[in-house]
């Protein structure tokens, strides 16, 4: 088992001790390999809070999160019975806002910061950085630039490279494609998908883009005001009625197919997940 939530509750505390419940009774198993999960839900529903439990940045108030065999509970952390740093090496989390982590003078130094903290030799980390900067869609000239003079999208890419450089077993991305142009978004999603397919790594991705969910996810989680309200197949999710109640919408490709079936009375043999798939089906009809 990769990550397992058992009856997790978590509340943020206000300055006066008031509690804001952010996670309510979460039970969730996640495989160590082979999963591609998208986490969706309206703004403020607790997605970020949920994933920050996955690498023990936050610790449940009650219940437990077992990460790669280490059982994280409030008590265990308070008594320092468990080491948290190894968990963070194995479960890489890319933050929603890159501003919070970039701090070195150059992009290169920033990318190797993570690996160095985990004891990777500098030369090795540097070689990795040269490789990864291209993976995230920038060229090597960026390595010598200051991370603060980059555009929002470029910062995002650098921060992703910084986590990839740690070579985590499980990769979590908190809205990695927000603020990117459509091309850049597709490029990065392809990268994550490639990491998933070639290395069989589990990827967990928070997104507000239903097309991403539909195209890539093998499993979809929906959060709503701290509760996990859906856990299952994305196809089945979008065929449910009233997904608007969860502030979700039907993906474009699915909407198009539904429109064609309802307006033209055309029966698709199966619902296509990609444009290519849809095209082959339509070509077959025309022929």
């Amino acid at each position: 088992m990769g990550i397992k939530f058992e009856q997790v509750n978590y509340a943020y505390r206000g300055p006066d001790g008031q509690k804001y419940l952010a996670l309510a009774n979460i039970n969730l198993p996640i495989g160590e390999t082979g999963e591609f999960i998208t986490l969706i839900g309206e703004t403020g529903s607790g997605k970020t809070t949920l994933v920050q439990h996955m690498n023990a940045l936050l610790v449940p108030d009650t219940g437990s999160v077992t990460v790669l065999g280490v059982k994280v509970t409030k008590e265990a952390v308070a008594k320092k019975r468990i080491k948290l740093n190894p968990i963070r090496k194995k479960v890489g989390l890319v933050f929603q806002f890159p501003e919070y982590q970039l701090f070195e003078e150059t992009v290169l130094k920033d990318i190797i910061f993570g690996p160095k903290n985990f004891g990777v030799p500098e030369a090795e980390a540097k070689a990795l950085a040269h490789e990864l900067i291209k993976v995230v869609g920038l060229d090597e000239s960026y390595l010598s630039r200051s991370p603060f003079n980059l555009s929002g999208g470029e910062k995002k890419r650098v921060s992703i490279a910084g986590i990839l450089a740690m070579e985590p077993d499980i990769l979590i991305l908190d809205e990695p494609t927000s603020g990117l142009d459509p091309m850049g978004r597709d490029e990065l999603l392809t990268v994550f998908n490639r990491i998933h397919t070639t290395l069989n790594k589990t990827i967990i991705l928070i997104t507000h883009d239903m097309n991403t969910v539909y195209r890539y996810a093998k499993r979809a989680l929906v959060m709503r005001s701290g509760y996990l309200v859906y856990d299952g197949d994305p196809q089945a999710l979008f065929s449910r009625k009233n997904i608007e109640n969860w502030n979700l919408e039907t993906p474009d490709l699915l909407a198009l197919q539904q429109l064609i079936s309802s307006e033209l009375g055309f029966k698709f043999p199966h619902t296509a997940k990609t444009e290519e798939d849809l095209l082959t089906m339509l070509e077959a009809v025309i022929a």
């Binding site: 505390r13 300055p15 006066d16 920050q52 690498n55 940045l57 936050l58 308070a78 008594k79 320092k80 948290l84 740093n85 963070r88 090496k89 890489g92 989390l93 933050f95 806002f97 501003e99 919070y100 982590q101 970039l102 701090f103 070195e104 910061f113 993570g114 903290n117 985990f118 603060f148 910084g162 986590i163 740690m166």
Partner: protein
């Protein structure tokens, strides 16, 4: 880090909230000056009691204010010990001789080993450290085994003890006073109040409105920046920075990894704030109309009288040599 209360406004409804911010600022200044003028321990203790009454009547949780003192803990303890051990005026109230013998030292070393390995499990770290420190002192004074290498004496004098308590109480009072002000005053009101109180300085060509704006914005942003700091700590922790451990060099690195994003974010924030203010036609120095007018109530007169009475009493007492 999460528990710093200085600068944070917490909504409420007691009389402290209804008071005019001008009154609160002036009374705060009067009381702070009084606290600095007081010279005797009993008076400052009495002042603290008075402040407690205000807290209770004003329905402010004492716990909140105590949490506000936490960042000053180190300073408090440092001044306290400094006075106790180095102030040699007054009568000798306590003395003891520490004997350094192989047996005694051995036990003490064992004790510190024990401390080193258990300190992570104890919630009150500072307290634990002090207890172990005092315990080793006691051990050395009571127990010796084998030849005594050398001895040293610890002497505590009455004045040192008094001064230590006195300074501590004074610091507590001052921090509590300013916590009460920011806790019960909305940032906008604080701004208005500061502006009004600073008005006399206009005569000597100080731009008081801007001053007031700067002060209240700074106060307003302390909690926001702390929230930001917490987020940065999380972001860096996920890249393997362990803020609870590390040697000196690593500690430096950790601080840099926190401070740099902190500065960048603050600059960005202030830039955005400036644009937002400009977008709403804020021009420094230009007269502005007010949505909220400050109103002076009888309660304010009472509070002001209270402040003045305290200050004049303190001055009189000081003159007659209390």
């Amino acid at each position: 880090m999460k528990n710093i209360v200085i600068g944070r406004f917490i909504p409420g409804s007691s009389f402290l909230y209804k008071m005019d911010p001008r009154t609160k600022i002036i009374v705060l200044i009067l009381l702070m000056v009084s606290a600095f003028l007081v010279r005797s321990l009993s008076l400052i203790a009495f002042g603290l009691m008075l402040l407690m009454v205000v807290l209770i009547v004003g329905r402010i949780s004492v716990k909140r204010v105590l949490l506000g003192l936490r960042p000053l803990m180190f300073l408090l303890i440092f001044t306290f010990s400094f006075q106790i051990f180095f102030n040699t005026a007054g009568e000798l109230v306590f003395t003891t001789t520490l004997a350094y013998s192989p047996g005694g030292l051995g036990v003490v070393v064992l004790l510190w080993f024990f401390w080193w390995f258990t300190r992570r499990r104890i919630p009150f770290k500072l307290l634990y450290f002090l207890v172990v420190l005092i315990a080793s002192g006691t051990l050395l004074s009571l127990f010796s085994y084998g030849p005594i290498f050398t001895t040293s004496t610890i002497e505590v004098y009455s004045q040192g003890l008094e001064m230590a308590l006195f300074i501590m109480l004074r610091l507590v009072i001052i921090v509590t006073l300013s916590t009460i002000l920011t806790l019960t005053t909305k940032p906008t009101d604080l701004n208005l109040g500061l502006e009004a109180v600073l008005k006399p300085f206009k005569l000597i060509r100080v731009n008081t409105e801007e001053m007031a704006m700067i002060i209240s914005i700074s106060l307003r942003y302390i909690p926001t920046l702390l929230d930001e700091a917490n987020k940065i700590i999380l972001a860096q922790a996920s890249r393997g920075v362990d803020f609870s451990e590390g040697k000196l060099k690593e500690k430096l690195m950790q601080i840099v990894s926190l401070l740099v994003p902190m500065f960048i974010i603050s600059f960005k924030r202030s830039d955005e704030l400036a644009s937002a203010m400009e977008a709403r036609s804020f021009v420094p120095g230009r007269p502005r109309t007010r949505l909220h007018q400050l109103t002076w109530r009888p309660m304010d007169t009472v509070a002001l009288c209270f402040g003045l009475i305290i200050l004049s009493t303190v001055i009189v007492l000081r003159v007659i040599g209390w």
